[in-house]
Symmetry: C2
Subunit: 250 residues, 2 copies
């Protein structure tokens, strides 16, 4: 029997934002691997084995999943959002490259999903309406000076910036430092959106400007979108404001 | 009767990659607006009016859609991929800002979708596995020197680059010029992926290196992903290569 491994993006959280392809991939699996809260989103199936893990052991989890596929299991590795954006697909590819030759012979595929920044952007208008970038603010796997370089380059070149993994217990100061740095490049009036758990029951969307943005608003489940100098806020009487980045620029 | 307007991202093309939320939003509409090929993807419903348009008249289409919502219709404006990434959500926001006051009182929402770069990335591994940016290469709405500045800044700072709208009959030379510029900044060994119509029947995925990348491979329906200096290609005997960008960097 020949196994397989699929890395599945479950979307931002709401069931209606998970694609039929993702649902089918999860349902077809013999064994599911993933961070506990993501596994909890996949519908239960009799006889299916679930390997829940901490969200920091990504390479170990990827290796174990590949070993199970080599042994003949149909394996699904689940990620929140999209599988390829700061998620498990890169970790599995890394394990395939570093591991034994039979890892590279595994029937391997990736199912994309709606990544967090798209769900947050949809909730507030179209802040990603022109050129933008996505940066993981975690300096566990890359040095902080490289993050500073990327933030500065992106802001100076007029990209809207979406920040993933903005803050955690072990990384309490990085988001505040990022705001400080961006205030030296961008107008303080630039819109900032803190999008927590977009589309889920515990959703919380907070609007701010770069000048007043408080890193304490964010938690691990927050995606922070920082506009460019072109990004605009539309006031609407009795309604939430809209934030959008115009398609045209000078 | 109070109307509404929803901008819907239909995903990259395959039906299994459209979210249930997008399908429901399209089915609930009285009137659909959009570029003809996108409208063709939405299931037909009796009594539903369809306004197909050229893909260049975005602001006019947005204004007409808002007028219909003000008149009481439940309107859906459809986009391929995600609604907020180089698509109709920003055009509708712009029309709301520039238009009469009653445009800003419309019940307005956006339904996100799987945008093209995520679908292309999933097909080849995890090229967007670390910090990345998305750039529309169209200089219809922004000057070419600004695009050069963004391409250079992104490559120098180590972002993977996803290019939307890489080429058209009216813009035949820009993608070649972008490759030329990037060759002055990045190693010629950097992987380049031409992802055309990912997930559709007429899909075509082409692997190249930056040194040999030929702009002629791309067409309007292609998303081009250009790796960073860290992006790696894994050869697999008898299988397509995998391309991924490692989570860690120095």
């Amino acid at each position: 029997m020949s196994g397989s491994l699929v890395v599945v993006g479950l979307g931002p959280g709401a069931e209606a934002q998970m694609t039929p392809q993702a649902l089918a991939a999860v349902e077809a699996a013999d064994e599911l691997f993933g961070y506990g809260p993501y596994l909890a989103r996949a519908p239960e199936r009799d006889g299916q084995i679930r390997h829940a893990s901490d969200n920091r052991e990504e390479l170990d989890r990827a290796t174990l999943a590949l070993q199970r596929a080599v042994a003949g299991a149909r394996v699904a590795v689940v990620s929140g959002g999209d599988a390829g954006v700061f998620a498990m697909a890169a970790a599995v590819c890394e394990a395939m490259e570093k591991g034994p030759e039979n890892f590279r012979a595994v029937d391997f595929s990736v199912v994309p999903g709606v990544t967090a920044m798209l769900a947050v952007a949809a909730r507030v208008g179209a802040p990603l309406g022109h050129d933008f970038c996505a940066i993981s603010l975690s300096d566990n796997l890359k040095p902080w000076p490289l993050l500073e370089k990327r933030l500065k380059a992106a802001a100076e070149a007029g990209f809207v910036i979406a920040l993933y993994n903005p803050i955690s217990k072990a990384r309490p100061w990085q988001l505040g430092a990022a705001f400080e740095l961006l205030r030296t490049v961008l107008p303080v009036s630039v819109p900032v959106i803190f999008g927590r758990a977009a589309g889920r029951a515990d959703e919380r969307i907070t609007f701010a400007t770069l000048g007043e943005a408080d890193a304490g608003i964010a938690d691990m489940a927050t995606c922070v979108i920082i506009g460019s100098a072109e990004t605009r806020t539309i006031a609407r009487p009795g309604l939430e404001p809209l934030v959008y980045s115009p398609r045209s620029a000078r």
